[in-house]
Symmetry: C2
Subunit: 366 residues, 2 copies
């Protein structure tokens, strides 16, 4: 299979025009485009432009997402905001909500924001990272449609509910943790299925809750396991983390939670819930001192003795920052079938996918 | 091996007198005793009275922990407190710090507290649960001495840094997540070693960072893996969570972090760091509504289809609440060799371990 490289800004411009064509106001279309293409830039291709049709365009076109996003304040305290996202575009709602969270934290030192009635918001890291230039630690959480099988359950009734926390450093890249609370994404299982390969033991279960190495069992009635995997490897901890995220995003905000979060293919609004927080590091110690201590924390880890045959110890976010630098220079690679899907969806919507391809190469597995 | 059962209050009284004999003021001795015996009541025996000597008495006796705990305010903002624990008794320092956190949150709605220069504080859940009667969500984190091998590292250079978050429900038990960010505790590896049994693949690595099923490899120069286990099962996520906890507890508070957190057997102060947070649920939605929604969230999970051969789906904290009920009634079971160790330490310190044993039975593996 071939890979085509595109300039990131050209992709952002295209995705903006695409959303605008679907009645999304241009300013908001640009926000959503930036979130999606940022995922590609950071190497999280599963949350990038490949989702343009399935997660967004399809639902915008048949009215299951409101193209005119509105962030309605439901409740405000000196440090908290609760918003209703009005079933708008997830990345726009989330961007606005985190912006308000940071503004409030700039005044008070600390803020927490809940959002109900939203949709899939892309990568959690995008919003968590918004706190970094403000000398703050940022938190970004969302619940998701059920994809994960809780410990001792038979079916996928919990979301993969990601956790993102960010913290700035000085010489080192910022710490950017952004992880689903499942062992792996469903995408990784689908990838093995496409290749006709078994999945590793501990990734998923079949529809009876039994461990399986057959990706088809997982995809048809089963599901992926929580981080940890089976009980013997403490999968109940990943399940607990997933519940923690959902009680903050879903239960606390008034959004859907657990198995009630809408599937993207359902007619009803997804009613996804988010939770954001930001607080000033200077509430505790001077920012420069914190950043220097983060450098030391990170360097101690990176300079530690490596496992046999390993050359580097990585810090959460580091690979993604390096990928972003590389892809900003060389272009964002899109798989042949992603390009085909963009062309098809673009033609349907009326925004031809005609941006210049920088180059193409044979696909090499990471 | 035999198990002896003791009345929980009698144990608390004994542990209080034991600490008091070591120059800990009686009020503080009672706090520490309550934290330790609560761990036993909740079934977390690894953090209970078995640690009386190793974690506390030994260090108190030779002056490596100050028996007179002092919580010194380093910095205060409207919503934040930063304390220096003065190398006092971990459970006392942590109890006081969480109490102050809740008091501040009662006034402002939300509070975050950092603590440096503390010691091992026992179970994180004890402090997180203090928020529950106040209609708050509680967070309790601590860093720990290095026991865990980060992804691609060869040695144990990170703590098992637990995460605790609590939330109240109505008819159901509260949600109490309290989990180390490692796959398993070192104690579980030691247990397999004692029994001469291999450990499951994915729990730990040897001193070269290679996966091993030999518990001795893990105990001698290797270490346990982060939650997830090896790279294929996303162990880097557990490693990321462990870093997240440490940057909040250690880097942000001015405490030690990473491999610099003191080992209990070292002469230097451990300089453990904690992080606590509490916020009112009513900042977002009415407390009763939240509790009812938590009930529904929990019941949906518990009523879901079970995996084959499984009869129940558990909620974080549920087993521990049931255990607490059982042990409050029937007594706290202590293994024969724990009783021997308590007797020996008691004789050394000058507080005879002479409390009435309710009954004894043969040890049955859980």
């Amino acid at each position: 299979m071939k890979v085509y490289l595109y300039e990131a800004n050209a992709l952002k411009d295209y995705v903006s025009r695409f959303f605008a064509q679907l009645q999304v106001p241009m300013e908001e279309a640009k926000i959503a485009a930036d979130v999606l293409v940022s995922a590609n830039l950071r190497g999280i291709d599963s949350h990038g432009v490949i989702r343009l049709h399935g997660y967004y365009a399809g639902r915008l076109r048949d009215g299951r997402i409101d193209p005119i996003s509105k962030l309605t304040l439901v409740k405000e305290t000196p440090f908290n905001l609760l918003f209703d996202g009005g079933n708008g575009l997830g990345p726009v709602i989330a961007y606005w909500a985190m912006k308000r969270c940071i503004e409030k934290a700039s005044q008070t030192g600390l803020s927490m924001v809940g959002v109900k009635n939203s949709n899939h918001f892309g990568i959690a890291a995008y919003y968590g990272m918004m706190a970094l230039p403000h000398g703050m630690i940022g938190v970004s959480l969302t619940n998701s449609r059920p994809l994960m099988v809780p410990t001792y359950a038979a079916n996928a009734i919990m979301g993969t509910n990601p956790i993102c926390l960010t913290a700035p450093a000085n010489d080192e890249f910022p710490f950017v943790l952004d992880m689903a609370t499942s062992v792996v994404s469903l995408g990784k299982v689908q990838y093995h299925q496409k290749k006709g390969e078994p999945i590793p033991q501990g990734w998923g279960v079949d529809g009876k809750g039994d461990l399986t190495t057959d990706p088809i069992d997982v995809l048809k009635g089963g599901g992926v396991l929580p981080l940890g995997g089976d009980d013997l490897h403490s999968g109940y901890k990943g399940y607990g983390l997933s519940m923690m995220v959902d009680l903050l995003c879903g239960v606390l905000s008034g959004a859907a939670f657990g198995m009630e979060v809408g599937h993207i293919h359902e007619a009803k609004p997804s009613n996804v819930g988010h939770f954001f927080a930001a607080f000033k590091i200077e509430n505790f110690i001077p920012l420069n001192e914190f950043k220097s201590r983060m450098d030391k924390f990170i360097q101690n880890l990176k300079n530690a003795e490596k496992a046999r045959v390993r050359e580097r110890i990585y810090i959460p976010g580091e690979k993604e920052f390096e990928m972003e630098q590389e892809r900003t220079q060389k272009g964002v690679p899109l798989l042949e079938d992603t390009v085909e899907s963009l062309s098809k969806t673009g033609a349907e919507v009326g925004v031809k996918f005609d941006i210049t391809c920088l180059s193409s190469e044979e696909y090499k597995e990471a």
